[in-house]
């Protein structure tokens, strides 16, 4: 411990005070020695203040001192012109903020290293077919590929994700990722705590174990010790052996709460009776390329094709892709488009500020010339200008990052499902450094034009001889802003049009007042078909008598979302017409098992024949309703009603009792599949899936049309379900919300692009107005002469307008050319509208020109109102 004296001595103080103290000591000692007073000592010393000033400059290196001067000077200049400063900072901050926010969202998708070890060595392999374009592999094929030599050194298969329920305490619906035991090793993922799966845990009927996500551990288990604990999942005790690391990314970027072993039955798979569909990943041997992997797998693929019916073979391809490509496939275009559009906004902002700076540079020309004349070097002036720019962009960068936080929050509010990983996107150090680099770049870019201007000696004369020589630059910048805005407007116009089209899609069902919930029964608590059926029938009965329930239906799926069961069209046997074993697939047919109320609840009209009745539910005969599309495909000429069909070509025959109006079943965007509805009968008959019309899956949706407020009835539904079984987690959704969520991504993209286009347009308009006013000021004298010689105000106005119109049109034409190229890049994001839709492109161009003319109108009007006498005297 230092003594108080030395602490007092060593404490940091105001450096100026130290200088004063040091000199005061000297002066006092001098006075003491010479036996005079301090004033005399001071006189003898010389100029104390000047000495202090000299000492002060010694404290900082020379270049830094220059910077200090520049900064101080810049700060003074900026406070003298607050309007200019504010405009520049706001414009740049808008650009930087938008880029920062979007970058923080797309960075993990596009640029950031994936959170796996050597992720560039991981490939996704499998077959692709029109019905499932992303790579997949059948269980037996995977087993064979895995054990044969190829350019892949280690493998892992994933069965994807499925719903799983936490059935203890407060029941919760969770998502399970089902993976082979090699999964964590292949991806180089270290559990946050605990361990990964062993091979022994990955065989059929092994003791159930699983890893939980960090988020589930923190959230549901409150971060308490969990390793080794038994947790009841789907009615079965499962041991927690590990916790996944934070921000674990499952392939496909889906959120998973549990990771459970695949437990594939190898022997059973190899019989090819029941086959599991897998996503397969491999780590390439060192030095191998994706192409080499593809070639090394070719023989295995050809062998696998032997099991594929010949008529399907040409529809199936071998597909090998890099892991990142696989991971972000669906989001890449949208991410790039968003990033491109914000960079466009930033460019507009830079052009805008460059123009503002040029304008200010013009008014400061004399000042610069004076400084040059009294000895400031060219580099010194250049440095001064650049310092000022960096000062501006620094301020804009800070404001921009703040704006970035705000925008990110807005993005999340707009569409939580808009982009994967949006919820975890954050402005971290990496994004901040990016924003910083961006600010410096933007500042330099914006300041380049004015900085390179040499002050001309003529400026010293005080005349306006140096008139309009840099005007082409200013007008080019204005035109460039218009061009970029046009591209952004065209893009957002197309996306908005797509969104509108999406919202106009005829779903074929009435989604209003519809609630639905997925009720899953596990095999532990409901081991038999009878038990499951009894539960659902009892639930149906209870819900039917609930106040506010107008119609209650049971169904194996809910339109218009996908992941339904499906049947190959050419495998549906028509009575009297044996299956053609060599027929091509003919596409997929959607299959739904339902109760009779389904059509009534969703308001799907039966256009021919009759609907199912309640009495039909006790029928021993198989009954089926097809939609118009399937009726047409099966019986192109003639009637479907009364005919009998046998999906799969074996088992029970089903009689078609009616034809229903088409309802969407492929989500909002994919093309619609034909569909048939099988009646859920009380006396279920076990048939091969998916055509069975039975209850054996233990997964059923309850669809309820209510006559009252949907929010009021949801708790009643939950209560009814939990009265029957308190261990079933209940999530009640409204069909309207569900449909809105299906459009979340296009809505997110459209709204963001529209927002950025609006910012760009506003900046461009302000910029244009600024340039035109500047030109008017420049030409004041000339305009005065013209007016004195007889030009009318409208002559003057059109003179100014014509000049700016020329540049508006030039910008619009450039933008149009670029826009037509750029919009082709977003083709995959469009729905029901072509990238070069003449109405959109034309409308956008017209809007832009109109805005441009409007922006020029105000300064033009001011020019027309000039008093010639004043104008002539303008210096």
């Amino acid at each position: 411990m230092k003594n108080p004296l030395s602490r007092w001595l060593s404490r940091r103080r105001d450096p100026d005070a130290e200088l004063r103290e040091e000199l005061a000591y000297h002066l006092d000692r001098r006075a003491e020695l010479d036996k005079t007073n301090p004033t005399a000592a001071r006189r003898q010393f010389g100029n104390v203040t000047q000495t202090q000033e000299e000492m002060r400059t010694m404290r900082i290196p020379i270049w830094l001192d220059g910077l200090r001067q520049d900064l101080a000077y810049a700060a003074r200049t900026f406070t003298r012109t607050p309007g200019f400063t504010l405009a520049s900072v706001v414009a740049l901050a808008l650009g930087i903020g938008a880029v920062t926010a979007v970058f923080s969202v797309v960075d993990p998708l596009l640029f950031r290293p994936l959170p796996y070890k050597n992720a560039d060595q991981i490939v996704s392999v499998g077959m692709s077919a029109p019905i499932q374009p992303s790579e997949w592999l059948l269980g037996p094929d995977y087993i064979e590929w895995r054990d044969k030599p190829s350019a892949i050194e280690s493998w892992a298969a994933v069965e994807g994700t499925r719903n799983c329920d936490l059935t203890e305490g407060e029941p919760v619906r969770l998502t399970c990722g089902v993976v082979e035991s090699t999964f964590l090793n292949l991806f180089g993922i270290q559990p946050f705590m605990g361990r990964g799966f062993t091979k022994d845990e990955d065989v059929p009927n092994a003791r159930p174990v699983g890893l939980i996500s960090y988020e589930l551990w923190q959230g549901h288990f409150g971060g308490a010790p969990v390793i080794g604990h038994l947790v009841e999942m789907d009615g079965q005790k499962r041991e927690v052996i590990g916790v996944l690391p934070k921000r674990f990314e499952f392939p496909g970027l889906r959120q998973v709460d549990w990771l459970v072993p695949l437990q594939m039955d190898v022997k059973r798979q190899l019989t090819r009776q029941v086959m599991v569909i897998l996503g397969v990943f491999g780590r390439m041997k060192p030095g191998a390329t994706v192409d080499q992997v593809r070639e090394s797998l070719r023989p295995l693929f050809n062998h696998a094709m032997d099991y594929v019916p010949p008529q399907f073979r040409k529809e199936v391809n071998l597909k090998v892709s890099g892991f990142r490509e696989r991971q972000v496939r669906d989001f890449r275009t949208a991410s790039l488009v968003l990033l491109g559009s914000v960079l466009g906004v930033l460019l507009v902002a830079c052009a805008n500020v460059a123009n503002l700076m040029l304008a200010r540079g013009a008014t400061r020309e004399r000042e610069m010339a004076v400084r040059a004349a009294i000895g400031a070097s060219r580099t010194r002036l250049l440095r001064q200008t650049l310092t000022e720019n960096l000062f501006l962009s620094g301020a804009a960068g800070i404001a921009g990052v703040g704006l970035g936080y705000l925008l990110l929050a807005i993005f999340r509010g707009l569409a939580p499902q808009g982009v994967p990983l949006l919820a975890t996107a954050s402005i971290d150090l990496r994004v901040l450094s990016f924003a910083l680099a961006l600010s410096v770049l933007a500042g330099t870019l914006a300041g380049l034009a004015p900085a390179l201007r040499l002050p001309s000696p003529e400026s010293l004369t005080g005349t306006r001889a140096t008139g309009v020589r840099k005007d082409w630059l200013r007008q080019t910048l204005a035109a460039a802003q218009i061009a970029i805005s046009l591209v952004l407007l065209a893009g957002s116009g197309l996306l908005i049009q797509s969104l509108w089209r999406i919202q106009q899609i005829d779903l074929g069902v009435d989604t209003g007042q519809i609630l639905f919930t997925h009720v899953a029964l596990n095999d532990q608590r409901y081991p038999t078909l009878e038990k499951k059926q009894a539960f659902y029938l009892q639930l149906e009965d209870r819900l039917k008598h609930m106040p506010g329930a107008a119609a209650v239906a049971l169904s194996t799926s809910v339109p218009p979302a996908t992941h339904n069961e499906a049947m190959i069209l050419s495998r549906i046997e028509k009575e009297g017409q044996p299956l053609d074993q060599r027929a091509p697939t003919g596409g997929m047919v959607n299959v739904r098992n339902i109760t009779p109320v389904y059509f009534n609840a969703l308001r799907i009209p039966i256009v021919r024949g009759r609907p199912f009745t309640e009495e039909d539910r006790n029928s021993t005969e198989g009954l089926i309703i097809v939609d118009e599309a399937l009726a047409h495909r099966l019986y192109p000429s003639g009637t479907a009603v009364g005919k009998r069909i046998r999906p799969g070509g074996n088992g029970e025959w089903f009689t078609i009792v009616g034809v229903a109006r088409n309802a969407r079943n492929g989500g909002l965007f994919d093309s619609n599949a034909p569909e048939y509805y099988v009646l859920l009968r009380t006396r279920g008959i076990q048939l091969p899936r998916p055509a069975n019309g039975t209850w054996d899956r233990g997964r059923m949706y309850v669809i309820i049309r209510t006559s009252s407020d949907v929010r009021a009835i949801a708790p009643l539904i939950r209560a009814e379900i939990n009265r029957l079984d308190p261990k079933i987690p209940v999530e009640i959704q409204s069909l309207d919300t569900e449909v809105r969520q299906l459009a979340a991504r296009p809505r997110f993209n459209a709204m963001l692009l529209a927002l950025f286009a609006a910012i760009a347009l506003a900046l461009a308009a302000i910029g244009l107005a600024g340039v035109v006013s500047y030109l008017v000021v420049q030409r004041t004298q000339e305009l005065g002469v013209r007016m004195a010689l007889g030009a009318t105000p409208s002559n003057v106005r059109s003179l100014v307008l014509n000049q700016s119109l020329k540049w508006i049109l030039a910008g619009a034409a450039t933008g149009l050319a670029f826009g037509l190229i750029a919009t082709r890049g977003i083709k995959s994001m469009l729905y029901g509208v072509e990238p070069n839709d003449p109405w959109i492109i034309g409308g956008v161009t017209a809007t832009l020109i109109a805005v441009g003319v409007l922006a020029s109108w105000l300064p033009a009007r001011r020019a027309a109102r000039l008093d010639p006498m004043v104008a002539l005297r303008h210096d």
Partner: protein, 106 residues
């Protein structure tokens, strides 16, 4: 004599500090005393010189209690300062010899 030759004051300061840490006033007194009053440091340029030497890391500054019990800023020679002193002494000697020869010859 007041000395305006660039670098000379640095040399005098460094040489003085070779004897041990001292404050500005002490340096003034010392130079005056040992030169028998022939050299009188201009006080107004002593302090900027000290701070420049400090900036260039030839001396180190530290606040200490002085002989009269007040706080004073003491300067101390750094290893670099010692090197600079040697180099400057040598170049001064060369200069001195050169000038002397020229004067004698003329």
């Amino acid at each position: 004599m007041t000395n305006n030759l660039q670098g000379t004051i640095d040399l005098l300061i460094l040489k003085t500090l070779e004897r041990g840490p001292n404050h500005g006033f002490g340096i003034t007194l010392h130079i005056q005393e040992v030169s028998d009053g022939l050299l009188k440091v201009e006080e107004g340029s002593l302090y900027p010189a000290l701070h420049r030497l400090d900036r260039d890391k030839l001396v180190d500054a530290e606040w200490k209690v002085s002989e009269n019990g007040r706080r004073a800023r003491y300067y101390k020679l750094t290893p670099q300062g010692r090197q600079a002193l040697a180099a400057q002494t040598e170049s001064w000697e060369t200069l001195r010899k050169g000038v002397k020869k020229v004067l004698r010859f003329a």
